[in-house]
Amino acid sequence: MADQFPAILVLAPLFGALLLGLVGDRDHRLCLPVVAASLGTSLYAAVGLLRRVLAEGPVNYFLGGWEEPLGIGIVLRADSMNTPVLVLVAAVALLVACFSRRPAGARDSEKSPQYYTLFLLLCTALFGITITADAFNLFVLVEVSALSSYGLVAIGSSRRCKIAALNYLIMGTVGASFYLLGTGYLYLSVGSLSMPDIQTILASNEAAASSRAVRTAFVLMLVGIWIKMAFFPLYGWLPNAYSYCPSATSSLLAPLMTKVSVYVMVRVMTGVFGLDWIFGHLGWNHLVVWFAVVAILAGSILALAQRELKKMLCYLIVAEVGYMVGGAWLGDAGSWGLTGALYHILADGLMTLTLFLAAGIFAKRLGAIEIGDLSGLFRKMPLVSVGFVVAGLAMIGVPPTCGFFSKFYLIRGGIESGQWGYVVALLVSSLVNAVLFFRIFEIAHFGKNPPEGHAHHGESEGEGHEAAIARVAVPAHALAPLLLAAAGIVLLGVFNGPVVDFLRESLPAASAAAPAP
């Protein structure tokens, strides 16, 4: 059983999806139990895998039993870099599934079996992307995740979401095609598709490592992944796609898609090309860090300009992607930047999940799309507000939330590698986040004139002029995921030490990586 965890992890949601495809539209009430059971199985397998990696080190799983020679079959590989991401994906997906009891608005609720089937297929693909050790298999799974997310975005009832989905589709396809092109250049130069095999070749064969085709391959793969993760100049598809889709979709896609893409980038850097090759043969890592600086600043400024809450969060994602790309490319001797980026994948996943869940609740229960609609929020929904405030503080970087520690490691990496621009950008972005969230907190606390009509009248607070603000009931299935995610933010922050130690096991030891600028 424990030997089969890597396969079970990917297959449980797949079988759930197929089961829903077979019998889902007979009885819609079947959907949620099937989703919960399959994602629960995945979570169990992911945690089991994590414990196994903790005990024995990296685990290889040879599909089809093709072990020798390396590269004829497809290998799944779990190590200390991807098992935390797997656990994150499983946990986030489970929480969102719980949250999304009425996924697609009233107009299309008869399509919910298909919605949940796509949901499970997306989870399958994300697990597969994270655990695979084959460059081409990665492409196939990226396409599975992309196609299911196009469906999930386009299911929304607004007319704009179709256009947003088409833009997303075109950009996503171009991105995946660039990745495929890069894989082709790589295959043509080294004759292998297996990630560990390619790394061995590039480390030992000087002719291959210095070939221009391999450099081009790296650039192409990187650009493809950057489009997928909405890195700064290529972010155009993200805000519309994530803000016009149903809130269950956005709270699944926003925490997972970009973060898994960042993981893919780190994997391609460390597991395919190798940090020595990147910082030794290329030597333009500073340029990428400056791109990241621009991404962080631009994302923050664009977020300041937004009046819609979801749009603002989307631009914050663009800035956060800048954090992670910059951290991964710092190239400091102790790999603290890379550690920070990996840790930030986990932290940002939880923070984004909490914020988007909260935004979904606001939109549904208060009809609040714009930031100005949130007045009196703290009194209307005290518990939701707790989660929202925790996530907001984490985005700003207040201890003991995980946002503080990820910024701490990223800044440490920035200082050790002497990238002062990056450090300043991080601090400025924290400041902008503080402005953004305290503006919302202010409206939520002091704001008056609550929007009417959407409020479910419950018990009212008897306090002077604020007596008019009524408590809005939030059902448990929406509240529980939010609070669990908020608790996760704090717990991940408090226990950052062991998590970081575990993540660092997979990183190449502090080698003489990057020369000082």
Binding site: V140, V174, S177
Partner: protein, 144 residues
């Protein structure tokens, strides 16, 4: 100079063809105003990549990667009787073909979804021209 050109173009003309196709497709994807034409560009772009992969797997004088019923390399190939190591050169590389089968299927699936999105957009807005769509969106209520 002539030798350099022969080295970069003569032995690599297939790659030049694929790059030209790819540039055409990418240009259409970005610049065309009509959504269907954009999708055509996307298709050309993907086909160019397929061309690259398939040309990776070719071998001079090799035949298709299907053996005869006894598992021998077919006798028509030029290198059939020169020992196993060379005999393998008589058969094209099957791996790129397998990969491209996958990529073709992915391309078809993406194109199907994209066309259905275009149809849905046409149903909602009555146009598939991008500039008209942008104008329509601007006049739309945020919730619409």
């Amino acid at each position: 100079m002539a030798e350099f050109l022969w080295k970069t173009i003569g032995h690599h003309f297939n790659f030049w063809v694929y790059i030209v196709l790819l540039m055409l497709g990418l240009w259409a994807t970005i610049a065309k105003n009509n959504l269907v034409k954009k999708l055509m560009g996307l298709s050309i772009f993907q086909s160019a990549i397929i061309l690259l992969y398939v040309s990776i797997g070719t071998k001079e004088g090799a035949t298709i990667p299907i053996l005869d019923h006894h598992g021998h390399i077919p006798s028509e190939s030029h290198h059939a009787d020169v020992g196993p190591e060379i005999a393998a050169h008589g058969v094209a590389n099957p791996l790129p073909h397998v990969l491209m089968l996958t990529a073709i299927v992915v391309g078809v699936a993406t194109l199907g979804v994209a066309l259905s999105l275009v149809q849905a957009i046409y149903r909602d807005f009555g146009t598939v021209e991008e500039d008209e769509l942008l104008r329509e969106i601007k006049s739309l209520h945020p919730d619409g």
